[in-house]
């Protein structure tokens, strides 16, 4: 229940002398748009429009799953794509709803702000003639207080008070309290606006990237676009704007429950150099990111990188450390080691594209009887690989996954399996000699950390806005506007030395406790309790 009235369509305004249809239409549309009913409808639409984003995979959340969706629903996916189904929260229709809602909000709160400022400066209105029509009234109270004292008493209780002397000799005290409710409501709605604007700016001026960082000084990473596995810059961010820092993963520790293998804790130790300064050692973990100047480094995953050495037909060897991606909680990991520049005849110095090598398969930190790992830590590591010889298809320039071989090359037969159906098992330190005498050695593994590096310039501001909004909301929901009046009756035969007061009270918002408060005020006046 409230008195904050809706702004309804105007009661048939007198016909203007020069009827301007367009103007009238605009004005009416604006009134419609800023009405509470419209706000309600738009709120609903917003809720409904958010639903598809939870049903269909979202590119911004997990682009991998979008790809899977394409594979599973080849007909539906392109249609959804056109409708923005994979980017619901960036789609024009979602934006149009919230922009309309916020336009409505602006149109609604600005006039209310002005009204409220006016109301704050206005003295509480004079007492109505009859109190008995009010929800609360006390017809006549033998009071130990003069009206001025009653006014002081009310002021002490944080009412805004106005004392009026009337020509007929009566004196009224008007008191009002609870403007904080509307203040809170306005703070809340303005905070919503501030948060939306903050989100917009964050989108424009923020950036983020993901990167797998393998342990070891030789695997360091410096903050530039080329070094990310994938990255997104806000529309107003230039690659040159990225802050300058370098990271090396010095140590990565993970601990697990002994029996179930559930993760217990992670700890990454990195060497950081900012702006070419000295290298400092810092530690961070899940939930506790590494906060650098204008960049936050979050630990979002980890895994094992496998180091293998390939020795080719001419005796030349190459060592590679390649991250394998975990496919289950026990860190069964899949990956590929590709050697495009091998088997180069030292006499001709020519590379034979039919003699490139690729090894694809799984790494199991703890090998059991099956094809998957049985524990996430490296208790009995083993590598299961299939060897491929031929054209890896890396030269064409189409960016493929670095975690699997180009399936197209295998289908066309340009890349052939040369090790048989079953993958070959390699224990740590073992060497595998292939049919042509070339060798693959499993030298070891190193941990890697999956890092999400982000900068969002407005997130602290948004937090401030949200907290302010919450305070406003609580003021708004907890506050009550009410008015109380006292009237000193002029003809009181002042025999007892007291004043005869009549009192009335009007709660202006739904306020169940008002009867008690009113009774307490009347009692205070009666007893002269300041």
């Amino acid at each position: 229940m409230t008195v904050v009235e809706e702004r309804p369509a105007p009661p048939a305004a007198p016909p203007p002398r020069r009827p301007n249809r367009l103007w009238a239409l605009l004005r009416n549309s604006w009134r419609q748009l800023t009405s509470m009913r419209t706000a309600l409808v738009l709120l609903f639409l917003l809720a409904v429009a958010a639903i598809p984003g939870s049903i269909f995979p979202q590119r911004a959340v997990d682009s991998q799953r979008v790809t899977e969706y394409y594979a599973a629903h080849p007909k539906l996916a392109p249609v959804l794509e056109r409708l923005g189904g994979f980017e619901v929260y960036a789609s024009p229709w979602f934006a149009s709803i919230y922009l309309l809602l916020f336009t409505s909000l602006i149109g609604c709160v600005i006039p209310r702000l002005l009204d409220h400022i006016r109301a704050l400066r206005l003295a509480p209105p004079d007492a109505p003639k009859r109190f008995d029509r009010l929800p609360q009234s006390a017809p006549s109270v033998e009071s130990a207080m003069t009206p001025a004292e009653a006014a002081a008493m009310l002021r002490k209780r944080r009412f805004r008070v106005k004392l009026r002397e009337h020509e007929d000799g009566s004196v009224t005290v008007s008191a009002e309290k609870g403007h904080l409710k509307e203040t809170g409501n306005l703070i809340f709605h303005f905070a919503l606006l501030a948060v939306l604007i903050g989100v917009g700016f964050g989108h424009w001026y923020g950036w983020h990237g993901n990167r797998i960082l393998v342990a070891g000084a030789d695997q360091g990473f410096c903050n530039s676009l080329a070094q990310y596995d994938d990255s997104t810059l806000g529309p107003r961010v230039d690659a040159a704007d990225l802050p300058n820092f370098c990271l090396t993963l010095d140590k990565f520790e993970a601990s697990y429950q002994p029996d179930t293998g559930q993760p217990k804790g992670f700890e990454a130790t990195v060497g950081v150099s900012e702006n070419d300064g000295p290298v400092k050692t810092r530690e961070f973990t899940v939930n506790d990111p590494l906060r650098l100047h204008h960049a936050n480094v979050h630990l979002i995953g980890h895994g094992y990188a496998v180091t293998v050495r390939f020795t080719d037909r001419y005796g030349a060897s190459q060592t590679k450390t390649v991250p394998f991606l975990p496919v289950d909680g026990m860190f069964t990991s899949e990956g590929v080691a590709q050697f495009p520049d091998v088997n180069i005849d030292p006499k001709t110095d020519r590379r034979d594209p039919a003699l490139q090598m690729g090894f694809e398969g799984r790494y199991l930190p703890t090998v059991g009887t099956g094809a998957t790992s049985t524990y996430p830590a490296e208790n009995a590591p083993a590598l299961f690989l299939t060897a491929y010889r031929g054209d890896l298809g890396l030269d064409v320039g189409t960016p493929g996954s670095v975690y699997s071989l180009d399936q197209g090359q295998i289908e066309t037969g340009d890349l052939k399996n040369v090790s048989g159906e079953r993958p070959h098992e390699l224990k740590l330190g073992e060497t595998w000699t292939l049919d042509d005498g070339t060798k693959l050695e499993f030298l070891g593994t190193r941990p890697y950390a999956t890092l999400a590096i982000r900068y969002d310039p407005t997130q602290s501001l948004i937090l401030v806005g949200a907290v302010l909004g919450l305070i406003g909301l609580m003021l708004s929901l907890g506050g009550h506007r009410r008015r109380v009046w006292f009237r000193a009756l002029p003809a009181s035969p002042d025999s007892s030395g007291g004043t005869l007061l009549a009192a009335g009270g009007l709660p202006r918002t739904d306020y169940p406790g008002f009867a008690d408060e009113f009774a307490a005020l009347v009692k205070a006046a009666e007893e002269g309790n300041p």
Partner: protein, 324 residues
Amino acid sequence: MAELSNQLMAVTVLAYLAAMVLYAGEYAFGAKSRIGRAAVLPARELVGAGAPVPDDQPPSPVAVVPNSGRAEWVGRAAVGFNLLALLLHLGTLVTRGIAADRMPWGNMYEYILSATFVGSAVWAGVLLRRPALRHIGLFVSLALVLLLGADGMIAYTPVGPLVPALQSYWFIIHVSTIILASGILLIGAVPAAMFLIRDGYDRGKRRFPYTLGKSLPDATLLERLTFRLHAFAFPLFTFGALIAGPIWAEASWGRYWNWDPKEVWAFISWVVYAGYLHARATPSVKRTVATWIALLGFATMLMNLFGVNLFFSGLHSYANAGGM
């Protein structure tokens, strides 16, 4: 300990069920004797917008009048069983917490267990302060039985430690406030539905379910309780889901808002409940319409508790029902 917790859980459901049966018994016994009295009740209709009725009036005569002694005793037994069930419910949570050696909020099963406990405790508080509302106990316990039953059957997860992503004090703040808020919002749906039934009954509807309205508390009382519960829970929910959640998400995933399905549905619930508060504050929108919006909010909460865990996968690591 985990075993004990599971057994206590079953006993809890049985106790709520017993309370429900007894409430229903009182309902059936008491209904007849009350029809005549209803005519005597002073009409406490709202006079219109801007003229609220004092609320702290004596409890509605409906329940206080010592009606047929048998019904009264059955009703008291119902309350007794209800409070017993609440204690058992607490026991289930505590043993679960001891078994897991942490707060019992680590997965959906425990989350729903906690949220229903909050709802039940709030209901007990309402019951003690306003005995007049006892007559909706049937529906409160029904809701609790259904929610707990669904929790046990759909979302049961064996005791396990927290995954590292959940080891953060923001986890405690975020989850505890959301549990509090959703418990209150869940229980708030009961008076909301009862208001709609009672209001329909008052306006002469005699079809099922409006026939149930006959012995329900006064419509304005129900409506106001609905509003109070929602108005109290909404800021809590705002804090838990829209402030503490994002703070934690920022530390954990790097982004304060990720639009993963849990977040999407929390956002939807929030928007719908904001719609309820708006509708209730707008004089030209009927109270029944506003209350329907509150029930819609309840549906979105259920979706978030059960649906999202069953149908979608997301970043929320504890959002997987039934085993990890």
